[in-house]
Structures are given as C-alpha cells and as structure tokens.
C-alpha cells in the first residue's frame, strides 16, 4: 500500500511527513499505511524508504507500470535492497486484478468483500503482488524499454508488455475508501431536476458503488418510487437482449409516475455504442436518468456526442483530468476547480468552485443571461429597423430617389451615441428575484422552450418597429407640412421622435429598476439633446442652428408628445392586457413577488405551459415534437472524479436546454 503509487512524501521542518499525491485515493492509502506504522518516509530518485515500526527498509523502484483506463490498474516493480528480491506490486479495480489471480487461489472471500463495500458506497481497490526472478525481470525490462521508446503505437505496445508481466498474482486484499459527497449535492440535483434538467451519471466506479452514490445524491429513488433497469450481459447477444428488454420497459411505462432509470456498465456500453447505437439513442431520449459505470474518458465523450446528436443541449460537469474530453465535447462545459487540480477547470467554459454552485450557475445566471440576450438581440434589430423603415417610407414622398432623410452625422451617432447605452444597462435587468427562482425552478422550462426568443417574439418586435416607424413618419410629415417642411428640420423631428419612442420602449421592457438603468435611459436621452445642441452650434455643419430652432417651437414638443403617446399607447395596452389576463409563468411569479403572496412550492412538474396564452409564444400551437422530452442534463459529480488508480470518477452528465422549442415533459406527452 505504501509503495504502489506515485506519491511523493514531503518532510516538513518539524519532522512531519505530508504526502503529495496525484489522486485522493493514493493519498488516502498512503496515509492509512502510515497510520498502521508503515510509513513512506522518502522517495528520492529510484529509492524509497519505509519505516516500519522502527525498522528502516530501503527499496529500489525499478519500473512503474502506469495506470491506464484500459488496464484499470497500476503496478510497480521494486527490489528489496537487503534481499535483492524483485517484487511486482499491483493495485487496481477488482475486475482488473482478481481475474489475474493464480489459479487455485480462493478469491471468493475477496469478491464478497468487494460487493459488501460497494453496497456501502465505498470505492474499492484490489491489491496483489508477485515475486519475480531476476532473469524474467531483465528480459521483461528490455521489452519494456523498447516499448516505451517506440515511436508508433507506443501506448498499445506498452500495454502489451505490461500484460505480459501482470499475471498469476497473489491477491493480498481489498481496500475500501469512503468518498464523501460534497455538501449540497443532493439538494442541487433535486432542484435542477425539478427545473426540467435530466441527469446522467458517468463514472469509472463499480456498478454497486455508483448505484449507491446515486441513491445518496437524489439521482434515483429507491423502490417503489423509482425503478432501476439493468443493462448487462457477458456476451454481445446478452447485452443486445438486455438492451431490448430495457427499451421495451421504458416505452411501455413512460406514462406511469414511476421514475425509471437504467444502469449500464462500460463493457456493455462499448458493445452498445458500436453495434446497437440506434436502439441506445432511442433509450437515451426516453429516459430521464441514467447511470453509466466503469466508463472510460473516451466513452464519456462519446455519450455526450450521442446526446448532442439527439438535439439536446448538453452540459458536462467534472473535476478531473479524465473529464476534460467530455467537458470539451458538451455544449457547455463546467469544470470544478478543486482537489483534483485545475485541468478540468481550465478546459471548461465555466469554472466553479463547488458542485452546488451549479444551481446558481444554471438557474440564476444562466436564466438571466438568456433573458438579457433575448432582449438585447431583439431590441437591436428593432432600433435599426425603425430607422430603416422611416427611410423607406420617406422614399415614397421623395420620388423613390433614395434620398436619406437623416444626415450622415445623425445616422452615425444613432447607433453609437443615441441608443447604445440604455440597452447596455439591460445587463442589470432581473425579471425575477433569485429567491423566487430557487423556489420555483420549473421556471427554467420557460427558457428551455425558447419562450423569449423565437420567431413569434421576433415578429412582435418587427411589427413594433414597423408600427413605430409609421407613427413617427406620418405624424412628422403632417405636422411639419407646408411652410415648415424644410429638410433638416423635418429630419431632426423624425429622429427625435424615434429617440423618444425608444426611451419609452426600453423603460417598458425593463423588469427591474435600478438607479443605473434609470440613469442610462434618461441620461442618454438628455445626451441626445446635448450632442445635437453641440452639432447645431457648428457654423459649417449642415445642421447649424437646427436644434435650437426646433426647441424654440412649441409645435416641436407637442409633436414629440404626440408621437410618444400614439406610439406607446397600444404597446402599453397590449402589454398590460397580456400581463393581467393571459400571463405567462414569469408574469405570474412577478406578480406574486410584488404582492408578496404565499409561494407555493411545486410538487409535480406539469407543463400546462402551452395553456399559458402568452401571445408571444406561438410554440404552444406547434404540434408536440416526437422526441422532445426532458433534456438530459449531464453533469459530473465533483466528489468522485479522482485520478486514482481505479479510475473511479463520478461523472454525472447534465443535459441542459433543448434547442427544440416544443419541449414537453414526458408526463404531459402521455396525457
């Protein structure tokens, strides 16, 4: 235990020895060994020193057969400096070590012990050893050096050579390590599942360990509420049949309130991914939760790819180096920076400190981001379209000659100075407070269905810009007719009208009001006038004195007021009507917030969202898509990913928003 690892002991000045390990498991094992008086004191170069109850033993480390996720074990070759004997020490997953035992050894007790520990949710490792003859070692060592320096297929060659050595081992025993869940993991998973995100767990651990951990962290529920379906088998046919059975069960019972989840292990998964991909894809779409054990990093990435191809939006969360491929493959990669080092955190799109921060990331920040992006993009179209439509309308009275109503200075300044700042303040906009969101996580479904940014909301903004352009144009040319119809003045009136309308539009669309937003909108409004006063003071400018002349005319201000009234009246009326009589889920929560009424905690996630007669949402009229169910959510549990020898990494896949707009939970689909 003390030797078979890549741990480096560090001696502190006071004589205390601390260990620097690549994985938590190794760290635990070496510490445990030192607690049992087998202390690894130092490791210099090839020599390791062990103090055992006052006896000092020196060992020379000849070779290290490093851990690979294919072999699922690691070995070291050591030679006792006293006796000169050469030993092979191996440590690894039980199914990687136990089969290599020498024939005749009683491994039943070991198997039982492994099962017992796994049931308790502990991570098991198997330790074994063998003595080598010098000749055997030298021969093997030569092959090993060759393989290590090979330029082609090095990994394969090394694996082959290692295979040659690791056989007829003498099993020493089983170790079990408790890997505690991070604080807040079960609650986080529970709340994210409520919000419509599906979880898959991908781990390198044993099946029983994985199932136990899954039960602990709310991923699956025990009978009778939930049912676990196993996909396993020793041969390809068995696996295929098992898959068929599970698929059938899933299809039939998709309407029952029972929560179904399936479990598949790495070996079976390999077969499935190569031969029965379509069936598995269908299964993936039908199931809300899944546990995949003993998966290799490449399999993790493959699973993410599979789910991506089903049109799901995927999020992968992990904290170890073996999660990097999965994180990069998913749509959103989240890395937990922690005890495993920063590999996952560096490769990820988002890096958080603890698993439970995922809740805030998705529910709070992700949702706000979605709202703000939706508003920002549609508003940008709106303001540009407004100017364009006015120009188009003007061309009808200018002989379709292509005269620009607005002078070039105004046009340039429009997008940059006159309209950009109010919109930038939307980054502060919060439509619901965080407390409300965490109490009602189903609101996330709203985002998933694309309620705020879809063709119908865009059509709404488009129509609004057309209407506003017509209002501004018609009012301007009728008020500023005859003797007032001078080009520069009329152009400035039209521009002012647009700016007034936009200030009101942004105000109306804001859900929350902070001082900065207020300042942004109305400060920008004032800046418009200040800038134009400035330009109007330049004698050589085409606009010389225009703004001053206009502001002295009462008809200018009256026109502005009229434009704002006519333009915003219908918009306000429509918004109010929708808000009060056919409110969307967000509106309901907003009202509840304001009146501080009792908050209902949601029990069952139903989606009568289609009944929310939200006019901006025409999705409800679309037929339910065949494959749109809960989007699986792939996340990685940080507690488990370790670079340990047994490659035990808990990876829970978290699927996120679906790109398919009409997404309804399975329950409703059946009903």
């Amino acid at each position: 235990m003390a030797l078979c690892n890549t741990v480096i002991p560090i001696k502190s000045p006071s004589g205390q020895i601390s260990y620097k390990a690549q994985s938590q498991d190794e760290d635990a094992l070496v510490n445990a060994a030192s607690n049992l008086h087998m202390v690894l004191v130092s490791k210099n170069g090839n020599n390791a020193e062990i103090h055992f109850n006052r006896r000092v033993v020196q060992y020379e480390i000849l070779d290290v057969l490093e851990f690979t996720s294919d072999r699922k074990r690691m070995s070291v070759l050591i030679s006792d400096s006293e006796s000169g004997k050469i030993f092979l020490l191996s440590k690894g997953a039980d199914e990687a070590i136990l089969p290599l035992a020498y024939s005749g050894q009683q491994i039943k007790t070991f198997i039982d012990a492994v099962d017992k520990y796994a049931q308790l949710g502990l991570r098991t490792l198997c330790l074994a050893w063998r003595e080598l003859g010098l000749q055997e070692y030298l021969e093997w060592s030569r092959l090993f050096k060759e393989a290590n320096s090979a330029l082609i297929d090095r990994e394969w060659k090394v694996a082959e050579v290692c295979q040659k050595l690791e056989h007829t081992l003498d099993i020493l025993g089983i170790s079990a390590i408790e890997d505690r869940l991070q604080a807040g993991v079960p609650e986080t998973i529970e709340i994210l599942r409520q919000s419509g995100i599906n979880f898959w767990m991908l781990t390198g651990d044993k099946q029983s360990t994985a199932i136990q951990i899954a039960l602990l962290c709310n991923l699956i529920s025990s009978e009778p509420k939930g049912q676990l379906l196993y996909i396993n088998g020793k041969t390809e046919d068995e696996v295929a049949r098992s898959l068929e059975r599970v698929l059938l069960t899933m299809r039939i019972t998709s309407s029952e309130p029972k929560e179904l989840a399936f479990v598949v292990d790495g070996w079976a998964l390999e077969i499935i991914l190569t031969r029965y991909k379509e069936a598995f894809t269908e299964l993936a779409v039908l199931s809300k939760t899944a546990i995949c054990c003993r998966v290799t990093p490449s399999q993790k990435a493959q699973l993410v790819k599979l789910l991506k191809s089903c049109d799901y939006r995927t999020l992968a969360i992990g904290d170890g180096g073996n999660d990097v491929r999965m994180i990069q493959q998913a749509h959103i990669g989240v890395g937990i920076s922690g005890r495993e080092g920063l590999q996952a955190a560096r490769a990820a799109d988002y890096s958080i400190g603890k698993f439970r921060f995922l809740k805030r990331l998705i529910l709070v920040h992700g949702r706000y981001s979605y709202n703000r992006t939706a508003f920002l993009s549609q508003y940008s179209f709106y303001k540009s379209l407004l100017i364009c439509f006015i120009q188009i309308l003007f061309s009808f009275v200018s002989g379709i000659a292509g005269t620009s109503l607005f002078n070039s200075v105004s046009l340039m300044a429009y997008n940059v100075f006159y309209t950009s700042i109010p919109v930038l303040t939307t980054v502060l906009d919060k439509d619901l407070s965080e407390r409300t969101v965490t109490q009602n996580p189903e609101i996330l479904l709203y985002c998933q269905a694309g309620r705020l940014l879809n063709p119908s909301t865009f059509a709404g903004w488009f129509g609004r810009s057309l209407y506003h352009a017509i209002v501004v144009f018609l009012i301007t040319i009728h008020v500023y007719a005859n003797e007032k119809s001078e080009m520069e003045e009329l152009s400035m009136v039209a521009l002012s009208g647009s700016i007034w309308l936009q200030a009101f539009v942004v105000t109306l669309e804001m859900n929350s009001f902070t001082f900065v937003q207020f300042l942004g909108i109305w400060g920008n409004f004032a800046a418009f006038y200040i800038i134009n006063f400035g330009i109007s003071s330049i004698p050589s400018a085409g606009m010389y004195t225009i703004m001053f002349r206009l502001c002295r005319q009462p008809s200018y201000w009256i026109t502005m007021l009229l434009i704002s009234g006519v333009g915003m009246g219908p918009v306000l009326a429509l918004k109010y009507f929708r808000y009060t009589y056919s409110p969307s889920a967000i509106n309901i929560l907003q009202k509840a917030e304001r009146s501080r009424g009792p908050m209902y905690t949601l029990v069952n996630l139903e989606s009568q969202l289609r009944l929310d007669n939200n006019a901006t949402d025409s999705i409800s009229s679309m037929p339910v898509k065949k494959s749109s169910v809960y989007e699986p959510l792939l996340s990685d549990s940080p507690m488990a990913s370790r670079r340990s020898v047994a490659s035990s990494s808990f990876d829970i896949f978290q699927p996120a928003q679906s790109r398919v707009p009409a997404s309804y939970p399975r329950n409703i689909k059946a009903s």
Binding site: A401, T403, I475, I477, A481, Y576, Y581, A585, G597, Q608
Partner: protein, 304 residues
C-alpha cells in the same frame, strides 16, 4: 403593472391630450388663410392646350392679374408664401447638387458636388448646382383697388443662413447662361448674402408639396375685401405637372393653418380615455386575483 396603475396612466394621458388637442385646434382655427392656385388661370386661353409652349416663349407677356376675396379679417403681419406642388426638392440628386463651400467662400471653391451644373463654357457657375439653377422667379404684387399693398421682402430667409452660409463677398457669376433655363436670373452686383430669394429657395424642402416665404404684408386685410394680385407667371411647372399657388396667411404660436395636431390629439386622448374605461370595466367584471402563484401552470395541475 397593476391594473390601477395602467388605468390611471391611460386616464392621465387622455385628460392631458384632449385639452391640448382642443387648444391646438383653436389655434389652427384662428388662422386665416387664403390659398389661390394661379398656374392654370394665368395661362391665356389661346395657350391652354399647349402651356409649355406658352411658358417657354419669352415674347409672350407673363403678366397676369388675379382677383382674390378675403373671407376673414386678417391681422398683420400677413405672410405671403408661394406654394409648389409635385416639386420634388427632396430628390437625391437634386439635394446633393449644391456646394456649400462655394456659397460661402466664392468661385475658387467650385467643386464637383454641383453635379451637372458646375461649369458652363469652361467657366465656373456661381452659385452652382441644380438647386440654384431652378430658382423660382414668379413675382407678386398686391393692390387694393388702386392703392398698392406693401410687401416687405427683407429678412425672409434664416438669419443663420444669411450670416454664416452665404458669403458677403460672393457674387453671382456666369449664372443661368446656358442653353437650358431652369429658373430665375440673379443680379450679379448683389452679394449672395443679400439674395434673399435665393437663400430661401436653397433651403431644400423635404416634401413634394411645400411653401416658401415670399414676403410679409404689414397691413391688415379686412373681411370681404377684394385684393388684386399682379403675378408674373415666369416659372415653368408645366413640364412636369406641377402646381403653383399663392398663399396669404396669418400665423400663431403653432404656425400656419394645420388641423392635424389638434385632431390627432383629440383622437388619441379620447381613445386613451376609452381604453382606461374599458380596462376599468374589465377589471371590475372579471377580477383577476393578483399575483397568485396558484395560477402557475404547474401548481394548478398539482392541486387538481
């Protein structure tokens, strides 16, 4: 966005808009305006069929006298405008065809932005461009019986234009010398900053129907008076189907006669009041419990 708040907003809008509309209407109604179209009437009968030949023939006298009846009493100052219709001063090539630099600083700054009328016979045209070339050149005189009515033709243009846009030492040169006559001629001895008609004309209008100031009458006009207008019908609007009219109008703080603002405000104000009443009625008839989370789709189903 509570019902109370929104209903109040609409009510307020209505209550402010309706009086404003009434005030605007009243201001517009207090304007007395005479509009007289003369481009058809001023063509002699012989040329009614071929107005273009008439206008282009410089030998035919273009003098024409029109009688106009004053309906309402008009208090001084009375503004005299000439109104053109179907004249697209806002056409892109027309609007571009000028050189502000040249207008300010003189011949040396003639540049190519003046389009087709930059030079003539190798010499630069001052002022260049289509806008200047198409200068309106009808003249109007007014008499009451035998007594003339004074029309003040000074300060009809923007002061900022006179002082900063048109040069005091820039004189017309080689103007309207080409084969195509587009409009009036300019006195080459008067600097541009004093050529008020030109300055007024060069302020391009944005709409195809526009009025430009001709002069100001500082006298009152009594109701039921008949005025004689002595027009020289020089300007050719017959080639493109344009219309020419003469406008005599008083002015208020809101400008000339324009009912649009008044009516628009009235309509908007009443619609707003109507909406507020409608919303109030709906609110009373179909009360919506406000902010009840039980209305959430998901909690609704679960309570079933």
């Amino acid at each position: 966005m509570t019902p109370g708040c929104v209903i109040t907003i609409f009510l307020l809008i209505g209550i402010t808009f309706v009086p404003v509309g009434l005030v605007c209407l009243q201001a517009s109604n207090s304007v007395a305006e005479i509009v007289h179209r003369y481009d058809i009437d001023c063509v002699p009968d012989a040329y009614r069929r071929n107005k273009q030949a008439y206008i282009k023939d410089s030998l035919i006298s273009k003098k024409c006298i029109q009688k106009v009846k004053v309906q309402y009493h008009m208090k001084a100052p009375i503004y005299v405008y000439y109104e053109l219709d179907n004249f697209y001063q806002n056409h892109r090539r027309y609007v571009k065809s000028r050189s502000d630099k040249q207008l300010r600083h003189g011949m040396k700054y003639t540049d190519s932005s003046c389009g087709p009328l930059e030079r003539n016979n190798g010499l630069p045209i001052v002022p260049c461009g289509l806008i200047a070339w198409s200068l309106f050149n009808d003249t109007f005189g007014f008499t009451r019986g035998s007594i003339g009515i004074m029309v003040d033709r000074k300060n009809i243009s923007w002061r900022s234009d006179r002082e900063h846009k048109f040069g005091k030492d820039v004189y017309p040169f080689n103007f309207q010398n080409g084969s195509l006559i587009g409009g009036g001629k300019l006195d080459p001895d008067i600097p541009l900053s004093n050529q008020e008609d030109l300055i007024v004309w060069m302020r391009a209008a944005a709409l195809p129907q526009f009025r430009k100031l001709y002069g100001v009458i500082e006298d009152d006009l009594q109701a039921d008076e008949t005025i004689d207008i002595h027009i020289t019908n020089n300007y050719n609007t017959y080639s493109f189907g344009g219309k020419k009219s003469l406008v005599l109008t008083t002015s208020t703080w809101l400008g000339g006669k324009n009912d649009f603002l008044g009516y628009a405000y009235l309509v908007t104000g009443s619609a707003s009041i109507f909406l507020s009443i409608l919303f109030a009625l709906i609110h009373v008839k179909i009360p919506r419990p406000h902010g009840d989370a039980a209305y959430l789709s998901w909690s609704r189903k679960s309570s079933n």
